[in-house]
């Protein structure tokens, strides 16, 4: 381009000298155009420029006309003896693979013209797009593409991110505060609606999965912590320590104010998440300061979340911090800590869910009470939970409250079993801590259990598995003879767990 400009200038100078020598006495001067590169190359969807061209004509400039492949594209009036003009062009999908010819024609008052030609080679539309800055205006990620999260990407207040069905989003490597993640800040919205045949998949760049695939071609469903996760934050009420109005969500450094959640609008709407699968995430900042597969902080009831799968997250599968949002049809497989984790008086409903515990899964259900003066309770119902020798069924703590009904547990160890060389490891049970016991008063609440079923390991009784009196609401059933629990039909077709045959044990 530099060479071109140089040649052009030389040529212009030469022409000028030549013409002025020849027609010294006549006031009819020519026109020149410069600054337009001869060629350029961009991908479809990308933008050329703006480049700045300039025109000179001592007799007075009149106009600039631009044609694209011979057809008029635009005209621009010019004045004076010297003028500059910007030029930019965004290549559309139809331009892909073509050489576009742009012709620039400058005219002066007495009809002299100068022409410049630019040939733009447009490559194929890239299928992978790297996102490196926060989304501050409405944006759409389109079907067929893979989007790479180059850092923690925040959809900031007032903006909406639309993700079309089948899109794959991959987080780059990064841990601690550098973990890549997609954050929907308070006041921002997401509209990610996959379908049962074309889910939206969030995974790591290490995953070679391509649009159209559901199972990873190269990663095991136990690989965790390769990127962050999805964090949705809203303005609904939360029960926060010290009764502060808002708090910083875990996993985001305190200095990034996009990490604040909580407020007073219980009907807050953060958008729609449907048919999404989140995998291999959970990078952490420090102990107990990590990113869950799906983190919901103060998310309001106006938000729709249905059909979510979380696989191999290094921390919890889904964690609610207060808020009022409800979630329907959730599947959590191989979570690195807890599968379902609730805190700070979440006041929504989790309906129809499957948990498949893995070697690192600590509690299938980790239910905590309020942290401030505000009290509210949630409902967890219609769930089927498959255990692992490392896993407890449920841990209810810190004055936990809520309704837990129609839940089926199987494949858990006996609490007396030895785990990792430790005898009586205490795995495989559902228990209440001392602070929570007073909340459990049978059917009157605020902590209610109803219709729990389990297929217990031989030798395990209902009272050793369901402790603190919860056994009264539990029944033992044979494997797959459960009358309560999840309906797996909701997970067929779009979940990795189903493709990997993990749902065989479920009804």
């Amino acid at each position: 381009m530099k060479k071109f400009t140089y040649a052009l200038t030389l040529l212009t100078a030469f022409t000028l000298v030549f013409t002025s020598c020849k027609e010294e006495e006549k006031p009819d001067n020519g026109v020149t155009i410069s600054g337009i590169p001869a060629t350029a190359k961009i991908d479809a969807g990308a933008k050329l420029g703006p480049v700045t061209g300039s025109a000179e004509g001592l007799d007075g400039l009149v106009s600039l006309a631009i044609t694209k492949d011979g057809a008029p594209l635009s005209t621009l009036p010019l004045t004076g003896t010297s003028a500059t003009f910007p030029f930019e062009y965004t290549a559309v999908a139809a331009d892909a693979g073509k050489n576009l010819v742009f012709e620039f024609t400058v005219t002066d008052t007495d009809g002299d013209v100068a022409k410049a030609t630019h040939v733009l080679s447009v490559g194929a539309e890239p299928t992978t797009i790297r996102v490196t800055s926060n989304i501050t205006a409405n944006t759409t990620w389109v079907t067929g593409k893979t989007y790479i999260l180059g850092s923690r990407i925040v959809v900031t207040s007032g903006a909406k991110l639309t993700i079309q069905k089948g899109v794959i989003v991959k987080g780059e490597a990064g841990t601690g505060a550098n973990a890549t993640a997609l954050v929907i800040a308070r006041g921002a919205q997401i509209d990610a609606q996959g379908t049962a045949t074309e889910p939206i998949i969030f995974t790591s760049v290490a995953d070679e999965i391509a649009p159209g695939q559901v199972a990873s071609p190269n990663l095991e469903p136990t690989q965790e912590g390769l990127w962050g996760g999805i964090i949705v934050l809203g303005r609904a009420k939360c029960s926060l320590a010290g009764d502060v109005a808002e708090l910083q969500i875990e996993g985001i450094p305190a200095s990034d104010t996009n990490g604040l959640y909580g407020g007073t609008n219980d009907a807050d709407n953060s958008g729609i998440l449907k048919f999404i699968s989140i995998r291999h995430g959970g990078a952490l900042i420090g102990a107990s300061n990590e990113i869950n597969g799906l983190t919901l902080g103060g998310v309001g009831s106006g938000t729709v979340i249905e059909n979510v799968e979380v696989v191999a997250n290094q921390d919890d599968g889904i964690e609610w911090f207060g808020g009022t949002v409800s979630v329907k049809n959730a599947l959590i497989w191989n979570s690195g800590d807890d599968a379902v984790d609730t805190d700070q008086s979440w006041a929504g409903t989790l309906d129809n869910f499957i948990v498949i515990s893995g070697v690192n899964t600590d509690h299938a259900l980790e239910i905590d009470g309020p942290e401030g003066a505000y009290n509210a309770a949630h409902t967890v119902k219609n769930g089927s939970v498959k255990g692992h020798p490392a896993t407890e069924m449920g841990d209810f703590r810190s004055k936990a409250r809520g309704t837990f009904e129609n839940l089926y547990f199987f494949n858990f160890p006996a609490p007396a079993d030895t785990y990792n060389g430790v005898a009586n490891a205490g795995r495989g049970d559902l228990s209440l801590d001392a602070a929570t016991v007073p909340n459990f008063t049978g059917t009157t609440g605020p902590l209610v259990f109803n219709k729990l079923e389990a297929t217990l390991k031989s030798g395990v009784t209902l009272t050793t598995a369901f402790r603190n009196g919860t056994d009264v609401y539990a029944a033992e059933v044979a494997l797959k003879a459960n009358t309560v629990g999840a309906t797996k039909a909701a997970f067929v077709g779009w979940t990795w767990a189903e493709k990997a045959g993990q749902l065989a044990d479920f009804k």
Binding site: S151, T175, N218, A254, G263, N289, E290, Q314, V422, A425
Partner: protein, 967 residues
């Protein structure tokens, strides 16, 4: 990060050894005449007298004092009388001055009094003036500003081994954590430490002042603490400036070797002591590379997510190789602890030539101390949710044992040259300190929605190096009319924490998960270079028929700091673990093509590292001040200082959305007026008054975007440049605009000096703080702390000091001296609206929240008292000293966290010295520290609740001894 290894200065060491050898050989060669050396001072000003005639009556020979007031006379062995006379001063006859063959008799300082005040001639024996402390007392009495000090003579008497333990004998001075100076109970933010009058960088990035414990007392001539500001001092102090002056012209040829040791029954020879395998040079105070970062500090290393898909590709191979380069030791092991021991070597002399006097001086110190804290506690407590419940709830309970081995190697060498009208000094100093820590803790967590018990393993190493060169000159023009002093001092300091290791297993299953925290490794590096230049001019003149002095000058300081932390986490994937920290990184656990879900590393600092920054500052100062006596009894010093201070910062916030590239973060131009008045009520009584303005500026780290996580406490330091807002950004809690604190200081003091070093003083002070900086909790993240300007504050204090011989009880107790200093303060900060609201929100039932609270770091009282015994004839010296500092607000609570307070530590120490042999060549000491066996404690304190420990450490009782030989 570990590109630059700390190397021992081999060449200077060799030179030093040669000098020592030379000293030893020449020491016994020539001996004929003996030498008398002494110094003469003006009793009324405390300044050295120039041109005083010293006549040896017996021989009628003599000498004239130089501008330092010093003289030297060579004489044949014998006993002489010196007649010391000077115009308009009373003559002193000093009798029984003994001269021995080949030896130097160093006389104590002689103070000459004005003629009109006393008899014409005073006769006194040389032995009777032997109290160095009273000479310093005279300086103290006559100084126009408020100062206190302690000299090397006192170090010997008390047996203090380092500057930290010595300086706390000074009125209103206390030492925090055995290292950092508090003056008048004001924290180190308001205290400044200078070496030979010039700034030296603090070695701890979290501190404004330098650790005092790294200066061995045998290189120190004196420590002077200025408590009121005069224009020639740097303006950034409030509590005081502590000036450590190293020795320059030894009065006599010395060559001393000493060994010392200490035994702490609770810490030493204990087979439970915890340590870990370090490098071969740990015993010299630096790491030999054993703890080097296997990546070499690179930031282009592969990450796990980049290699998991292709473990044996080029990047994958590199990843595997780096992973295997991390030292595999993660847990402490038991070893019987050694006792403390140390070696000291120092020598010096002055060589008198017809035209010049040379002085040289060198000291080497080696200390190897071992501490073992058992049942140490580091806890977190918070207020319960219900406001009708008062008792605090535990969030984290961490208790266990840890061992610390600390090595200090220090070398100082100085050459000084004195001519008729000039003095030059060149000093080199290098201090090397290495500290290795190993701990095993039981950990119980109920914080952040996670309940578990765990076993925690910590291994740490920290090495600090300080190298400083000082070149200075003093010139006297036209007799002593003009005095010109200049100083030039480059200093370089480094602090490295190579390979801090942290591992925590969840119990009882011995698992590692994000909830308990992943194993972590940290490399921390700090480098600071300083250049300080000073020029001071003084003109002695006569004003209102009295001596007066006009001083003016300028100073220039440039400091730059490079700081970087690189930390790694080690997810363990699906690796089964057995609870042994040293097997976490065993080969079969590590990530490979056949173990794709094995243990791997994750770098926290790629691509953005907010904990990497460069800062620099320039401070240009100028001043003018006038010292005069408008009335015969009134001494005044009036001055003004101006400082132009600019600080620049290069660094980014965490997600690099804010990038500062050498951005100006502080730009202050301030005028600091000073007024000091001394009214001599009687000859030995002064009434002092001072009013001054000073400043306290934020540190490099505070004016940054750094976000430094401490893996042990889980707390995060957040740089002051960040904003914090609440209620959806509508309310700004902190605007990110950290400002300097301007302070007005007012002092009044009455003092009475009596013979034999006795004195009384009573004083009061009042300070106002405009925008003081304190460490405040982030409201939205209670685990994060940030320096912020809080509401304005005041401190009101009363000081009482006395030194009294116990002969008033019985004449037999004449040799006992009782010294005490007491400081009581009342501090107040008016709380910001945010802080007040946070306190109201979490107030307990019946608790009233006022508008003010204590100022953080301000002790309500400091008590130092002790009784010293000395008998120069028998060589016995002994002292018993008590020190305590009142409960001090440590960290300001926010939200459900409460304030933490330092609990008074009752320190009672005993020391006994005895000298033996001809010329007291052998000096021994024996002491007991912490006779009361008190514990160091910090507590959480809340309304109506029982206090809970934040930190509890048992330092135990320590018996120390030393023996030194002079050749």
């Amino acid at each position: 990060m570990n590109k630059k290894k700390q190397e021992l200065p081999i060449k200077p060491l060799v030179v030093l050894l040669l000098i020592i050898a030379f000293q030893l050989i020449t020491g016994f060669v020539f001996a004929q005449n003996g030498t008398i050396r002494g110094a003469i001072f003006d009793e009324s000003t405390g300044e050295p007298l120039y041109g005083v005639s010293v006549l040896v009556k017996e021989t009628s020979t003599g000498a004239v004092t130089d501008f330092d007031g010093k003289f030297e006379i060579q004489l044949a062995p014998g006993s002489y009388t010196l007649q010391i006379s000077y115009i308009s001063f009373a003559t002193v006859n000093l009798t029984e001055v003994v001269v021995e063959s080949g030896k130097v008799n160093v006389l104590s300082d002689v103070l000459l009094k004005s003629e009109e005040s006393e008899l014409e001639t005073v006769t006194v024996s040389a032995a009777a003036i032997r109290t160095t402390e009273s000479a310093l007392m005279s300086v103290k009495r006559n100084a126009p500003n408020l100062l206190d000090g302690i000299s090397s003579a006192t170090f010997r008497q008390i047996g203090d081994g380092d500057a930290a333990s010595a300086v706390k004998r000074v009125t209103g001075v206390s030492i925090e954590g055995g290292k950092y100076v508090y003056v008048r109970g004001l924290g180190d933010r308001y205290t400044k430490t200078v070496l030979n009058g010039v700034d030296i960088p603090g070695l701890d990035p979290d501190r404004n002042t330098i650790q005092m414990d790294i200066f061995p007392t045998n290189v120190i001539d004196n420590i002077v603490v200025s408590k009121s500001f005069t224009a020639e001092l740097p303006a950034d102090f409030t509590g005081g400036v502590v000036d450590i002056e190293t020795k320059d012209f030894p009065e006599e040829k010395t060559f001393r070797v000493s060994i010392s040791g200490g035994v702490n029954p609770s810490m030493h020879f204990n087979s439970n002591y915890l340590t870990y395998q370090g490098g071969k040079t740990d015993w010299l105070g630096y790491d030999d590379g054993t703890r080097a970062n296997p990546t070499g500090g690179r930031t282009n290393i592969p990450q796990f997510a980049e290699v998991i898909g292709n473990p044996n590709g080029a990047k994958g191979q590199e990843f595997q190789q780096l992973l295997r380069g991390f030292n595999k030791t993660l847990g402490a092991s038991n070893q019987t602890s050694m006792m403390d021991f140390g070696l000291g070597l120092s020598f010096g002399n002055q060589i008198v030539r017809p035209k010049a006097t040379w002085g040289y001086n060198a000291a080497l110190t080696y200390k190897n101390d071992t501490e073992f804290y058992q049942d140490a506690q580091f806890n977190l407590f918070a207020k319960p949710i219900d406001s009708n419940q008062n008792e605090l709830e535990a969030l984290q309970i961490q208790s266990g044992n840890y061992g610390v081995n600390s090595v200090l190697l220090g070398g100082i060498a100085g050459i000084a040259l004195k001519t008729k009208a000039s003095k030059f000094k060149l000093n080199f100093l290098h201090l090397q300190n290495g500290e290795s820590k190993a701990g095993i803790f039981d950990y119980e967590n109920s914080n952040l929605g996670a309940n578990y018990e765990a076993k925690q393993y910590n291994l740490e190493y920290s090495q600090r190096g300080l190298s400083s060169i000082l070149l200075s000159g003093n010139h006297f023009l036209k007799g002593k009319v003009w005095e010109v002093n200049w100083k030039l001092a480059p200093t370089r300091s480094t602090i490295e924490d190579p390979d801090i290791r942290f591992t925590r297993f969840r119990l009882p299953t011995n698992t590692i998960s994000p909830e308990v925290g992943l194993p972590a490794r940290i490399w921390r590096n700090l480098e600071e270079n300083n250049l300080v230049g000073k020029l001071d001019l003084a003109k002695n003149m006569s004003l209102w028929n009295q001596d007066a002095k006009f001083k003016f000058g300028g100073s220039y300081a440039f400091k730059e700091r490079d700081f970087e932390i690189q930390s790694f986490q080690f997810p363990t994937g699906t690796t089964p673990l057995d609870g042994n920290p040293n097997s976490v990184l065993k080969e079969s656990n590590l990530f490979s093509a056949t173990n794709r879900n094995g243990v791997r590393y994750n770098p926290d600092f790629i691509p953005n590292n907010p904990n990497k920054f460069q800062s620099n500052l320039t401070n240009i100062g100028g001043y003018a001040s006038m010292e005069a006596n408008p009335l015969a009894k009134l001494k005044t010093i009036v001055g003004v200082r101006v400082e132009k201070y600019t600080q620049f910062y290069s660094g980014t916030n965490q997600n690099a959305s804010i990038v500062f590239n050498d951005e100006k973060v502080l730009d202050d131009l301030d005028f600091f007026p000073t007024l000091n008045l001394v009214l001599a009520l009687k000859e030995s009584q002064n009434l002092r008054f001072s009013a001054t303005r000073t400043i306290a500026r934020p540190s490099f780290k505070e004016l940054s975007f750094a976000e430094i996580i401490d893996p042990i406490t889980g707390r995060t330091f957040v740089g002051g440049l960040f904003q914090e807002t609440t209620d959806g950004g509508t309310e700004i809690l902190w605007d990110g605009n950290l400002q300097s604190t301007r302070i007005n200081n007012f002092d009044v003091r009455w003092e009475m000096f009596q013979p034999m070093g006795e004195m009384w003083s009573v004083g009061a002070f009042y300070k106002t703080f405009d925008n003081p900086i304190e460490i405040v909790q982030f409201l939205s993240d209670p685990g994060s702390f940030q320096p912020r300007n809080v509401g304005n504050g005041t401190v009101l204090g009363v000081e009482l000091e006395f030194r009294k011989s116990l002969k008033f009880i019985s004449p037999r107790l004449e040799k006992f001296l009782w010294t005490s200093n007491l400081t009581f303060t009342e501090s107040q900060i008016s709380m910001s609206a945010t802080e007040k609201r946070s306190r109201q929100l979490t107030a307990r039932e019946g608790q009233k929240i006022g508008d003010t609270r204590d100022m953080a770091g301000q002790a309500p009282y400091i008590v130092n008292t002790g009784i010293a015994y000395s008998d120069f004839n028998t060589g016995w010296e002994a002292g018993i000293y008590y020190n305590v500092q009142g409960p001090t607000l440590n960290m300001v609570g926010f939200g459900n966290r409460t304030d933490t307070y330092a609990v008074p530590f009752n320190s009672l120490n005993l020391n006994v010295n005895k000298t033996f042999g001809a010329d007291e060549r052998i000096r021994t000491s024996l002491g007991v520290q912490n006779l009361l066996n008190d514990k160091r404690e910090f507590i959480f304190s809340s309304y109506g609740a029982q206090d809970q420990f934040f930190t509890q450490l048992a330092p135990g009782m320590r018996v120390n001894f030393s023996i030194g030989f002079s050749f």
